[in-house]
């Protein structure tokens, strides 16, 4: 064929043009289009169902812009330099620390029991641990905060407990995933010596995941701090209460100052957490 066309160049173009190359062949491409169509239908239906006013969406940018320039600017920086406010920031940091610490301590056994490969009993312990982790994670931290405030009253204890539940779910899932990804060689070696499940965990699994766990723990604190800035909104202590008060009183310049302070503190906490994680990874 190839030589034939080379000899007779005056034949003109070949009868059928070369087939276009496609990444996806026929049945696969059909499924893709169908999936896309389904997704688009759902999306447009939900815009209609939720009654989203699209004209308002387009006007929004102008309105949000004037909202910021007229009301939220300039931020009332003096307000956030106030002694009481700074004390509440300090409370927030403490709450996040305790919540993360307790949450991690609870998440350690949950992560072990809830990992598919290392759980002591796949039939009984595993589903319970998975359910607890998922339950703690699925319920939003603000809902936990509201529940604990209802039960225990206003104050930081409710906040610490809410953050504990939040961190348990968060860290428990990551811990379990980390344990599921380990190398089974050392585990089998230690099991072959007749060690108990706990010894297998301590000498076979922990050395493999220690660095990753430390990184997860630091990250958990970081996330807990972000959550802690807001749970005070529902009465669980910390700076969130100042936020709520000023939002309700429509003290918008103060609100913007508080928001700026949250961003600043979160930036610092993120930098600290990134530094600590890099240190831990290096110190392996």
């Amino acid at each position: 064929m190839a030589t034939g066309t080379a000899i007779k160049p005056d034949r003109g173009p070949p009868a059928s043009p070369p087939r276009e190359w496609r990444r996806f062949k026929y049945p696969q491409s059909l499924y893709r289009w169908l999936g896309l169509l389904l997704a688009l239908t759902f999306l447009s239906y939900s815009v209609v169902y939720l009654g989203i006013p699209l004209d308002r969406f387009i006007n929004m940018f102008g309105r949000a812009g004037t909202l910021i320039t007229d009301r939220y600017y300039p931020p009332d920086i003096e307000y956030v330099m106030d002694r009481d406010y700074l004390a509440s920031v300090f409370d927030t940091i403490q709450m996040a620390y305790l919540g993360a610490l307790f949450g991690i301590l609870i998440a350690l056994p949950l992560g072990w029991f809830g990992s598919h490969n290392m759980t002591p009993s796949l039939r009984f312990v595993y589903p319970v641990a998975r359910f607890l982790t998922m339950g703690a994670r699925a319920v939003h931290e603000t809902i936990w905060a509201i529940l604990f405030v209802t039960i225990l009253g206003f104050g930081m204890m409710a906040g610490v407990l809410a953050l504990t539940f939040f961190c348990t779910g968060f860290a428990g899932k990551l811990f379990a995933e980390e344990i599921e990804a380990i190398d089974v060689g050392p585990v089998e070696a230690i099991r072959a010596t007749g060690a108990s499940e706990l010894s297998v965990m301590i000498f076979g699994v922990l050395p493999q995941v220690r660095v990753a766990f430390t990184g997860i723990a630091i990250y958990t604190w970081d996330v807990a701090f972000r959550a802690a800035t807001v749970i005070g909104f529902f009465g669980a202590g910390g700076m969130g209460w100042y936020l709520k008060r000023n939002v309700l009183q429509i003290e918008t310049t103060r609100v913007s100052a508080i928001l700026l302070s949250i961003v600043a503190i979160v930036l610092v906490s993120e930098a600290v957490s990134a530094w600590a994680r890099a240190r831990v990874a290096k110190a392996k």
Binding site: I52, M60, Q94, M95, M134, G153, M157, V263
Partner: protein, 273 residues
């Protein structure tokens, strides 16, 4: 130096290094524990109004009020649950669309002018992630009024940071060889993008988007607390009317919804990747 002394020397060095690491580690643990004890003292023991809480029995009694399910509420939860999923989906989609510039600016190897555009993208990501969805919702309720639109916008803005950060990192880790290969056979810039870059980052990006969608279901289930509709509004109403079994019902509904999201995300991720 003979090999025996060299080995002994090496062993000694390793042992010394280990004992030093052990001392540092126990010091860190000690500091962490001392800090914890001090925090427990100030936040829990001093700050709590123990009289208000009362005895353990009283606490158990107030917990007991929640241990019941109000089945009569269940049929009324379908609509808000659907709304919650819709808000999460639309919000994720809007977030994906709006985070494209952040990804473009935020990946060091494709950012147009690194000294200016890279910090802008990092700032966008940090702003989006550091402000809580409740606060974003408050802001957007002020800007566009009560309703689902404020929730969609809050979810969208809150999703930008995570999606953009993970996608930008995926683009930074790109393997340059397919790009060169497509270029070598004469592909245009668009074809390079379509056949060399997208196939490499798509599994990561789609995985991240689905993961974010799953989280957004959780988030949109509380946005009703500040006036953005969905299950959060029902929760708020049940709590304010002191219908504690109803509160439990709503929480169970949220649990089921999140479980549904996890199952869907598992299968979609498996189908696409």
């Amino acid at each position: 130096m003979t090999s025996a002394t060299a080995t002994a020397d090496m062993v000694e060095r390793i042992v010394a290094k280990r004992s030093k690491a052990r001392i540092t580690r126990s010091l860190i643990y000690f500091v962490l524990l001392a800090l914890a004890a001090w925090c427990i003292k100030t936040t829990i023991i001093d700050d709590t109004d123990w009289e208000r809480i009362g005895t353990l029995g009283a606490v158990l009694k107030s917990i007991g009020r929640f241990v019941d399910v109000d089945w009569g509420l269940a049929p009324n939860l379908w609509k808000p649950a659907l709304e919650t999923v819709m808000v999460a989906t639309l919000g994720t989609l809007l977030g994906v669309i709006t985070c494209v510039p952040a990804i473009w600016f935020g990946a060091l190897n494709i950012t147009p002018y690194a000294p200016v555009t890279y910090p802008i993208a990092r700032l966008m990501m940090t702003l989006s992630r550091s402000i809580h969805e409740i606060v974003w919702a408050l802001f957007f309720v002020a800007a566009v009024g009560l309703g689902a639109l404020a929730g969609v916008l809050a979810i969208a803005v809150r999703s930008i940071g995570f999606i953009a950060k993970m996608s930008a990192e995926a683009i930074e880790d790109l393997d340059p060889k397919p790009v060169e290969a497509i270029r070598a056979v004469g592909g245009s810039e668009f074809q390079v993008f379509l056949y060399a870059i997208i196939p490499q980052v798509l599994p990561t990006v789609v995985g991240v988007i689905i993961f974010e969608w799953e989280i957004n279901i959780r988030r949109s289930s509380v946005l009703g607390l500040v006036g953005a509709g969905g299950l959060g509004l029902v929760f708020f109403r049940q709590l304010n009317t002191f219908n504690h079994p109803g509160v439990t019902t709503v929480i169970l509904a949220v649990l089921l919804l999140v479980l549904f999201g996890e199952i869907v995300s598992y299968y979609v991720r498996k189908a696409i990747i």
